[in-house]
Amino acid sequence: MSGSDVAFAFKNDLRFFGREIHPAEKPETMERPAEASPGLARPPHEGGNSTVLRFITCGSVDDGKSTLIGRLLHDTKQILEDQLAAVAQASRSRGFAAPDLSLLTDGLEAEREQGITIDVAYRYFATPRRKFIIADTPGHEQYTRNMATGASTADAAVLLADATKGLLAQGRRHLYLAHLLGIREIVVAVNKMDLVDYAERVFDAVRESFAAFAAPLRIPRLRFVPVSALAGEMVVARGARMPWYRGPTLLEILEGIEPERAARARPFRFAVQLVQRANGARRYLGRVAAGTVHAGDEVLVLPAGRRTRVAAIHTLEGARDRAQAGDSVALAFIDELDISRGDSVAHAARPPRASRALDATLVWLAGQPLAPRARYLLKHTTRTVGARVAGVAHVVDIHALEPRAGRSSLAMNDIARVALELAQPVFADAYAEERATGAFILIDAASGHTVAAGMIR
């Protein structure tokens, strides 16, 4: 797609904003659309049950991704006047008639000058129920690398599908990558329903084609919502055009996802970040990666292989009875043990595997290709060990989504199944079961650059 096509697509994508908002003329009168719920213009309340949801948006400009993000930010009252005025000014200087809201997310001068996109932009909005962090991965270039980066920290993925086009190769790729990166909650937003007369049968057909493709992936939760980001139907407000749809709006789906509850139920995992001597006793600082730990619990310390009990769980506010996935704490044990940064503490009966050889899926991120047999550094939890790629079993053809054998090197955006040999063991789980202890990165020891992301099988 040429540069002018991109600009044209953006403008098409922003019909709503082009028609309704003219910050150049009257920046102070940006109205809420009538259908937006005024109750949503509120921050999460401290002391309430609000928490954080991270999600990634996947889709090309043609799918209306900018409009959807614009709609979410706009209808939850996150776009402020000076931002709109800046977008209007930038749009005018580029000769666009209407404000191009994609300029909110594609902000870097270096990108514009060089026509490149730099992986992920993060956007924030909040409702009374929770705070949201959007990982927005723009553009087609380097899509695999960028989407892997954005998806790695996401609890959920919103996949844009164009109701007028249905399931395309790109949609299959997004679904595959979101699943590969271990996202358990995937929402397909079937967009541009305004262009198909809000017809239920069109939505049903798109849904059926996605569901058929997704069936063998066994995605834990795959949901569909018909939307018109342009008209604001079923994104934040329900609107009036799709009475046949009785499910939740996109925002309601996002507000209802509860990743933390599942993480707490899994076996306890804790990687030691630092060791501290305080008041004559040792404390081990770190964040609970998975599960829940209580004072008094028996735990297994690795690589020592020693069992001990948790004597206390400390925070600045004092000792507490338990810590759960996501909590940064300091643990003390009843035994004096030789534990250092990079060691692991785990559920005594359901420990991770100690491995010096890994079967993993690798996403190659660097411009510099994989050098077979070269030595890399592998960072897994807080542990960094020497590693080399012993063999490439296959490389996934991202267009056909099929494995192809016969390659020994990897280039940027390649996804491959590889065998790795490690200089010391790591204490790992399968990524599909536990992301925090199943993920690693490869670092080029000479340049210090992060060259690959890995998921243990």
Binding site: T51, L80, A90, A126, T149, A436, I443, T450
Partner: protein, 299 residues
């Protein structure tokens, strides 16, 4: 049902994890501390990460010499209360050395980059922890938590490392360093909610007070000894507060009667203009002015 963590607990826990990763991976870090609200939040987070031990890094202030006295008082008091080492490196020293040369009337704000890089070299820092947030400005939206800077202190968008999961990579070569932003994922509102929750003491100028100002380019410019009114400008005394605090010559207050952090939370939730848009003259200079300064080594 187990109790949910609030969004502030989530943000706090993430920031504590990041600070501990810096301590675990970097040989010579420092925490940039100005006495402003974001850096006061960083100090509380460092307490959460490391107390009862001392911080594993000194505090470092890059001082333009054009300060609000309330902020410097708060900076010194807080460092003393915590018993932590505070290093101050001054833009005026850089001017004396001749490494900073300013045009007549030019703000010293951007010159902080030079002094900061000199301090990083002098102290041989491999990590500088700062309070920048991704919501502040669009050039920051793509910023990493661990942001790589080359031997000239420059931020090159193409050399930034992919940052996946919470597997941060702070590895640097000689002369290179990383900037680390533990509150990347916080918004202005989160910061104010955290200040209210943690009952953090801020310099008094963050709260409503009467101040002599002039109206300039749609902003309220404070009238001080350093920043007298220009010809034809009418001085007014208004109720104002500062949303950000930087160099006196380029930081503007907003009209407000909010006298407590709770009132500021309410006002921020209803705000119609971003923090920097309302308060920083230097950010308005060009569409990409923040990005340019960042590439030259700014915070």
């Amino acid at each position: 049902m187990s109790p949910e963590r609030s969004h502030l607990d989530w943000l706090e826990s993430e920031a504590v994890f990041i600070l501990r990763e810096v301590a675990g991976e970097c040989a010579r870090p420092a925490l940039l501390f100005s006495g402003g609200k974001d850096s006061l939040v960083l100090l509380r987070l460092a307490e959460k990460a490391f107390r009862p031990a001392r911080f594993p890094f000194p505090l470092l202030h890059i001082d333009t010499g054009h300060n609000f006295p309330e902020v410097i008082e708060c900076r010194d008091r807080r460092a003393a209360e915590l018993g932590e080492t505070l290093l101050v490196r001054s833009v005026e020293d850089s001017m004396r050395r001749g490494t900073v040369r300013l045009r007549e009337g030019e703000s010293r704000n951007a010159a902080q980059s030079v002094t900061l890089l000199e301090a990083i070299e002098e102290l041989q820092l491999d990590a500088a922890i700062g309070g920048a947030r991704r919501d502040e400005e669009k050039a920051r939206a793509k910023e990493r938590v661990f942001s790589f800077r080359d031997g000239f202190g420059q931020w090159d968008p193409r050399r930034q490392r992919p940052e996946l999961w919470d597997l941060y990579n702070p590895r640097v070569g000689p002369g290179e360093h990383v900037r680390v932003f533990p509150i990347s994922n916080w918004t202005e509102l989160d910061v104010w909610q955290y200040i209210a929750r943690e009952k953090l003491e801020l310099p008094s100028i963050y709260y409503a007070h009467r101040r002599a100002v002039v109206r300039r380019n749609g902003l309220l410019a404070p009238v001080t000894g350093l920043t007298p009114p220009r010809a034809g400008e009418a001085v007014e005394e208004l109720w104002v507060r500062f949303r950000t605090v930087g160099d006196v010559s380029c930081t503007c207050p907003v009209a407000s009667r909010a006298a407590t952090s709770a009132e500021i939370v309410a006002e921020t939730a209803a705000a119609r203009v971003t923090e920097r848009g309302a308060t920083r003259m230097d950010d308005q200079t060009s569409e990409a002015s923040m990005e340019r300064r960042k590439r030259e080594g700014y915070f």
